[in-house]
């Protein structure tokens, strides 16, 4: 197996890893991002509510309260530069009983202290005049106009894509088995993986739900991650307009509660539950979990028609036992950086955390790497054209330039072959990756129509047999062989 040399290695390509990668790509340093999944984002950055929180949830003075409103502000500017979908729709926290009103006041107070702008408590009637489908039982709501809905897939891809354009290298299906230390254990020297050695004087631990396991490998046992599962439902776009903004119930110990929101692509999202589990990789929904989601969602929006559900999924939050984000640069071993336990509002905070940690690295780790600004850094990037959202003129122009943009692959989401091919060119190697990049298969038929076509295009573009195309890497092959083969098997 090969050995490769870098200045900085980032373990994990979720929102934390990708925002840090992009921040580091401003400098003339060699960066590698390693992720064990076959496509980005995986883990919690893939399966979440797609919410950019306003920043009123966290107690003033905590690390979370510091980064969340900053991250919110950054996204509101970055989405244009990096071309990901962000809908500035605002959010409501709903009080369903008199005794929840003090809680709204508390959130309002916290939010003001945290620097969240334009917070306001409105009456239930005012809420219903804006959102006619909101439950009659809601008596008041905290309105946070800076809450946004984000396409979390596009956001992670955008940061990473831009980082790659600026020289960062991404290694997928690359699982870190060990973090390597110098003989005296004072200095990080790299990582060992299933794809060989990656040597570097700086290793950043952005391994999400596995980040405590990675930290343990260098002797850091200062925190433990408890995976906390969240189950979700997604509905057909036909009912995506039941609500315009993000709806939260009053938060409890267990978390922010079961929410209802339109996704960035106008489906309706319901969830998540909050269920502790031991397994760090099993993202299976449960009957109980899904029932909780329906019940919780209908408390806020009673008219949600469950026959409009198109899929369910579950994600695992990386919940640290410290109760707050774990962001530090270890003294020993030198060169090891934790950006761990970035649980909600982690997605929101990530860009601000990335900026912060890179600033600190420039100072505290300057003996290891020379952080010389890269004069050729390009901050902008474009996503693959979103055919579904283009004007007729733009579609025509695209189709004229490349006829593959006039060949539909996914009819539910209006995804063309041109988009699928471009996704593959940018690194998509699995059916799930194509879906994440383009939304092919994310619609109401869930890949029934485009599935075989996507397999075919992946096979053709990657120059691999159809049978080797996987859903999400590993052993997830879509097809097991050719027809008629059975009758020629040995012994038949």
């Amino acid at each position: 197996m090969s050995t490769q040399y870098y200045d900085i290695i980032i373990i994990g390509g979720g929102i934390v890893g990708s925002t840090i990668a992009r921040e580091l790509s401003r400098y003339d340093v060699r960066v590698a991002v390693l992720d064990k999944a076959a496509e980005l984002p995986s883990g919690a950055s893939r399966a979440n509510s797609g919410m950019v929180h306003a920043g009123y949830d966290d107690k003033p003075g905590t690390v979370k309260a510091h980064f969340c409103p900053k991250g919110n502000e950054m996204y509101r500017n970055l989405y244009e530069e990096l071309d990901f979908t962000l809908n500035k729709v605002g959010s409501y926290v709903c009080a369903l009983a008199e005794n929840e009103i003090p809680h709204l006041n508390l959130l309002l107070e916290q939010g003001r202290k945290n620097g969240v702008p334009s917070l306001e408590i409105i009456s239930g009637d005012e809420l219903r005049s804006r959102e006619p489908n909101a439950s009659k039982d809601i008596i008041a709501a905290l309105w946070a106009p800076t809450g946004c809905i984000i396409n979390n897939f596009e956001a992670v891809l955008a940061f990473m894509d831009n980082a790659q354009q600026n020289g960062v290298e991404l290694f997928l299906e690359t699982e870190v088995s060990d973090v390597l230390l110098s003989q005296d254990k004072r200095q990080v020297v790299g990582v060992n993986t299933n794809k060989g050695l990656f040597l570097s004087p700086i290793v950043i631990n952005a391994a999400g739900v596995h980040s405590d396991e990675i930290a343990k490998k260098v002797g850091d046992e200062s925190f433990v991650i408890h995976p906390r599962r969240g189950d979700y439902f997604i509905t057909d776009k036909y009912v995506g307009n039941l609500v315009k903004s993000f709806f939260f119930p009053c938060p409890s110990e267990a978390g922010k509660g079961i929410t209802v929101a339109p996704t960035a692509d106008h489906n309706l999202l319901m969830g998540p539950t909050s269920i502790f589990q031991l397994d760090r990789d099993k993202t299976a929904t449960t009957r109980d979990g899904l029932e909780q989601v329906i019940e919780g969602a209908r408390r806020l929006i009673p008219s949600i028609p469950m026959n409009m559900a198109i899929t369910t999924f579950a994600g695992l939050r990386a919940d640290p036992d410290t109760g707050d984000f774990v962001i530090n640069i270890l003294k020993r071993p030198h060169g090891f950086v934790n950006v761990a336990g970035i649980k909600s509002p982690g997605f929101t905070s990530a860009p601000a955390i990335a900026q912060h940690i890179v600033e600190r690295m420039k100072d505290e780790l300057k003996d290891l790497v020379d952080f010389k600004p890269d004069k050729n850094f390009v901050p902008e990037r474009k996503h693959i054209p979103r055919f579904a959202y283009l004007s007729m003129e733009e579609r025509s122009a695209l189709a004229k330039k490349d006829p593959r943009y006039a060949q539909i692959v996914c009819r539910c989401e209006s995804v063309t072959e041109g988009q699928v091919v471009e996704a593959i060119r940018r690194g998509a190697k699995t059916v799930a990756a194509v879906k994440i990049w383009t939304r092919a298969g994310a619609g109401r038929c869930q890949g029934g129509f485009c599935g075989p076509r996507v397999i075919e295009i992946l096979s053709r573009e990657l120059n691999i047999p159809m049978e080797e195309v996987t859903r999400h890497g590993g052993h997830s092959r879509m097809l097991v062989g050719k027809t008629k083969e059975y009758w020629f098997r040995e012994g038949m």
Partner: protein, 417 residues
């Protein structure tokens, strides 16, 4: 960029659409064009290589491709224009629409009248809310049928089939023919979703177990499907604790229902019936937009393709009359209602313009002598049984309807004698 201008435009070159093209030409329309998103004609029938088609339309048993090729030949002889690789992706309220085609790019089509014939699609797993993981190896039966019959690939080796819709039953047999193991067909309802003849020919003849009132309650496996948990269900279709059973399998095929595909109809603002999920039509297959007609599985999911073709032809003829300005708009608006045991039916209203055929499906099976009736006294026919998997029909004669004078509602029902 010049628009494509036609008299009658048909969307979809499946059995309904092709027959609509034939019908439109028969009725004298000059320029009739069918727009099809696939590179080939025939729609889903291309992949239906089993026999069983055409007993009513041609009086003989044909395979899907054979059946549809007879109609394609008819259409070609009649001078119908076919546009393949031409996906209709946007429709305006007036019925003008946009196609995309790799060699032509994006074009607008303007037609005097149109026939919606987009067919239906399969319900996915996610719609069922079955908990568990989402590994590779879960396919709708129709997707698996395409992979096996058209692409020549096997989706898996050890198969469980959820739901007993016809495509699922046919795929059970097909997978056996290709050497796969089929562990069983699981149907949550107390009766089969598909035709009895398919239960006999596809399951019984091959010894494939068929379980009623049992369903999949959990999906297992991280990468590839590793198994499913099945369980018996009670009267409310909730799993019965203690009846759970794990089945090791690498493939789950779904035959849990078909949904008319009405994205374009909705764009045109055609009114959709929430029960059939298809456009509301009258006996002339005219939707709530006068220039837009609809036929086949886009209106209501049929059991046999023969009826789809007949309806398509009728819709095409009426669309042609409309295009020529010879279509007489219905003066009356008689509502058709369904009786207690009628789950869905079409048309939902009559314009009092011609004889009418009303198609319907029952909610509960009746396994003894029963009758289809249209009240008041418009039609009665004895049946030996009525089953949800099969379509029943009733015929209403225009003269009988007229003889009734001023009625504004008629009722179709299937009940025990």
């Amino acid at each position: 960029m010049s628009d494509i201008i036609v008299d009658v435009a048909v969307i979809g070159a499946g059995p309904a659409g092709i027959a609509a093209g034939v019908g439109a030409k028969e009725a004298g329309a000059e320029k009739v064009a069918i727009f099809e998103r696939d590179w080939d004609l025939g729609g889903i029938l291309q992949q239906c290589i089993h026999p069983g088609f055409g007993l009513h339309a041609f009086g003989e048993e044909l395979t899907g491709p054979e059946y549809v090729h007879r109609w394609i030949s008819k259409a070609r002889e009649a001078g119908v224009e076919f546009w393949t690789n031409s996906m209709v992706f946007h429709m305006e309220e007036n019925g003008s629409f946009w196609i995309m085609n790799p060699s032509l790019g994006i074009k607008k089509v303007v037609a005097k009248s149109l026939v919606l014939a987009m067919g239906c699609r399969e319900r996915p797993l996610g719609a069922l809310g079955i908990p568990g993981t989402r590994p590779a190896g879960i396919y709708t039966a129709g997707t698996a049928q395409r992979l096996v019959n058209m692409e020549g690939y096997m989706p898996g080796n050890r198969v469980v089939i959820l739901g007993s819709g016809d495509v699922g039953l046919i795929m059970a047999r097909r997978m056996i023919w290709e050497g796969a193991e089929v562990l069983g067909v699981y149907e949550i309802m107390p009766w089969p979703g598909g035709l009895r003849r398919n239960i006999a020919q596809c399951l019984d003849d091959y010894g494939i177990p068929f379980y009623l009132e049992e369903t999949v309650i959990e999906v297992h496996g991280k990468d590839r499907l590793e198994g499913v948990t099945v369980a018996k269900v009670d009267k409310n279709r909730n799993p019965i604790v203690g009846t759970e059973k794990f089945l090791g399998c690498d493939t789950l095929l779904l035959a849990v229902g078909l949904i008319p595909e009405n994205e374009l109809s909705r764009m045109a603002n055609v009114e959709i019936n929430p029960v059939t999920q298809g456009p509301i039509v009258n006996e002339l297959l005219q939707t709530t937009k006068p220039n837009i007609f609809a036929a086949g599985n886009v209106v209501i999911v049929y059991d046999l393709v023969d009826w789809v073709s007949m309806e398509g032809e009728r819709a095409g003829r009426n669309a042609a009359l409309f295009a020529a300005g010879k279509f007489k708009p219905g003066e009356k608006k008689i509502k058709v209602s369904g009786g207690d045991n009628v789950r869905l039916y079409s048309p939902q209203w009559l314009s009092g313009q011609s004889d009418a055929t009303i198609y319907m499906r029952v909610t509960q099976p009746i396994e003894k002598s029963c009758k289809v009736v249209v009240e008041p006294g418009l039609y009665e026919k004895r049946l030996r049984y009525a089953r949800p998997g099969e379509m029943n029909e009733a015929h209403v004669k225009l003269q009988d309807l007229q003889a009734l004078g001023d009625v504004d509602e008629i009722v179709v029902d299937i009940k025990e004698v």
